[in-house]
Symmetry: C2
Subunit: 438 residues, 2 copies
């Protein structure tokens, strides 16, 4: 049956996904002749770049999530629905969803990306990604539960294992997470757990390549590495993770890490909806699009952002999967959709690279910007400024800023409550919980 969506005499653009790209597109179509229908499985936008701070107690979950409806207040041609997409029929121009069937004139896939485990099911089952709020809150709870459990543990080997943390992947997410865990060790946990010997806590960062921050400049790689080492993060370069059973991380020709917490930040893949066939999917499970973001081989279907794979110079292997690409593609696509409607000429996408950045800890970050390589406190301030800029909503900006100022002066991270009583639901059988000892 048909989903309940107002019928108008406007052509309908359906956007799947309320991330950076989906929002920018829907906003840019504000004055367009289209009806804009945005679908997302949540009623909120998630600011993924700060999820690692939620996972380490620096921010409350609500401050990195923003209600989608609020963004589009007063936009008359806009309709939002919470829905899961089951199947897309490009021939019939229909989407089968959890709220019924939705037809479209133009379809835009802004479905983003998910953690990619390269077929390692055990690793997928036992490790965490950092892709949504629930996962970040679960990870925070798990980290803290390990310390609560360490207090109860009499076996020193198990106790030490409870204080081991492994981050896989040396990109910005992995670096930021490892740095934040190292800060917890230094400033927060010794106060909370005077009974424990926090020297036993170790943070390991494992990277398959020869360097952390492989996509950044050599200088930033070096500075990032130095900052991590100074904070006591153990770096394992050229190390491939092969397996993780919930207790032991096995690496190829490398050491075994005994830990209950693995954060997986070693790869992402495009979230391709059902109905988009293999012929349309390129490297990294991304949907092949031409330089107008039109899905190659389909009519009136577009893809943008993380899920889109566009082979253009100077990005023959697709654009980096970062917010600015999604936002710029969305802006360009909006113009093109409107132009096409008026039979005007459309423009191919060209990416304006605004540089890249990663933060390691207080006063420690690296920024590449047009040949400049910043580090230290200025890079750190730039990092915060840019993240506040992209964060949606005045109230969220204010709360995040306040948390940062608070943390800066107190060396504390305020949001340390354990909300989930036990481990996340993805686990079929929790390996251990606080009642195990009874």
């Amino acid at each position: 049956m048909k989903a309940s969506i107002p019928l108008t005499n406007r052509k309908r653009v359906v956007i799947i996904g309320g991330g950076f790209g989906g929002i920018k597109l829907a906003k840019s179509l504000r004055k367009s002749p289209f009806q804009v229908v945005l679908l997302d499985k949540n009623n909120f936008h998630t600011f993924q770049p700060l999820l690692y701070q939620v996972a380490t107690g620096g921010l409350e979950p609500d401050s990195v999530a923003f209600p989608l409806r609020k963004i589009f207040r007063g936009q008359d041609n806009f309709v939002f629905r919470i829905a899961e997409v089951h199947h897309i029929s490009a021939e019939a121009k229909e989407i089968d969803t959890s709220i019924g069937c939705i037809d479209y004139d133009y379809l835009v896939l802004a479905t983003g990306s998910a953690s990619h485990f390269f077929g390692m099911d055990q690793v997928e089952k036992h490790s965490f990604g950092l892709k949504d709020v629930a996962e970040a809150v679960d990870l925070r709870s798990l980290v803290l539960q390990n310390f609560e459990r360490a207090l109860l543990e009499k076996d020193p080997e198990v106790r030490s294992r409870l204080m081991q943390f492994v981050v896989v992947g040396g990109g910005p997410t992995g670096v930021e997470m490892a740095g934040a865990l190292a800060e917890l060790k230094r400033h927060v946990l010794p106060n909370d757990y005077p009974e424990l010997d926090l020297r036993q806590m170790e943070v390991h960062l494992i990277e398959a390549g020869p360097q952390v921050l492989g996509a950044m400049s050599e200088q930033s790689q070096k500075n990032g590495k130095k900052a991590l080492e100074k904070m006591g993060v153990h770096l394992w370069m050229n190390t491939f993770v092969e397996d993780y059973d919930g207790e032991k991380v096995k690496t190829k020709d490398g050491p075994i890490f005994e830990t209950y917490v693995v954060l997986w930040a070693a790869g992402i893949k495009g979230s391709v909806p059902s109905g988009i066939e293999a012929e349309h999917v390129g490297p990294g499970y991304r949907i092949r699009v031409d330089s107008f973001n039109s899905v190659v081989g389909l009519t009136d279907v577009y893809a943008l952002g993380d899920v889109a794979y566009m082979e253009t110079e100077p990005y023959p292997k697709g654009h980096p999967q970062v917010a600015p690409v999604a936002i710029q593609q969305a802006a360009n696509l909006a113009k093109n959709l409107i132009a096409a409607e008026k039979s005007k000429q459309t423009k191919p996408f060209s990416y304006f690279d605004k540089g890249s950045m990663a933060t390691v800890g207080r006063n420690k970050a690296v920024v590449d910007f047009k040949g400049f390589h910043l580090k230290g406190i200025f890079a750190w301030l730039a990092w915060m400024f840019v993240h506040l800029l992209f964060l949606i909503g005045f109230r969220n900006k204010l709360i995040v800023l306040m948390n940062w100022v608070y943390s800066y002066f107190t060396y504390d991270k305020g949001s340390r409550i354990i909300i989930r009583p036990f481990y996340r639901t993805r686990y079929k059988k929790p390996k251990m919980d606080l009642e195990l000892k009874k």
Copy 2:
């Protein structure tokens, strides 16, 4: 087996419950000769008086929860453990818990209270209380999910039912919740749901007695009633709820209310741990204590706050179940425990009544204080000031204040994300969910 808790040559005071009373007691014993062991099933203190604002999107959950360990930083004689209490053996001076057996020299029950449904199992199963963070977040999600669902609903009767909200109980919690829902209707939801006719949304407040705020002065009752009516809350006085099956609220000799959301604020009962026998339990499931908070008939066991029932003049039926009673009893008990240890004289408890207050909406509150009856904006400011004062933690105070200032100027409530995908787990079979229509 024994729980892992450091052994010292100090006498051990075990406190069960990290509410207002438990925290005050543990803090007051900072310089005492005791080892203080605090047990709670969460690692955080919950500021219950503001849970209704979490449930209506005004505050994020983290700002009304505070990590317990942080409160006791640097208190050397203090130990905290996350634990559920299974059984108390007062004879053996032992507590059986989820983390093992804990023995004590003195035991203090600060277990607080839970929603009381007077044996109406169906009502208990289908309605919400406002006793913990998870429940408040679930209620928030449910309220918003009803509106999302109303958008999909073609049957006007069902659609209207999705916009009915029933609050049972006209005490401060019920009044505050009803007022907050009325504010959502007025200022927030019309912007979020332009497709819906929000005039259909109704908030009903049902009270068994003849007046709202029955425990307050007549003047405040009248002012509270007037404020609620002005905000469009439907008041049903002298109305007894008899049953609620998840769709229909049945009342004795009164109307039937069709609604999917019932907040139950019509009664609480003491949370009496297993092992405290019926002979020690008085009216309202509260534990009978003498004027020194010592449980009548047991040795070295104390109870305070909501769970304690002390018959003294001028409170022959026990003290009101509010934070100031718990805090004052805790302070007195701490002094008495220390005094007894030094063979000094102990003092009976006497309650210093600081008055009572309830807020209805912006600029609308009522305050009774020593014969004075405030209403309007001054009462509202006083209410906010007192709540900020009692809220634990500088960061939480700041964030809550910021949210209030933000809401005041924007008429908005910022925290409207639906975190739980479907209804709370207490439901065995969700009656309806967003996928039902498929």
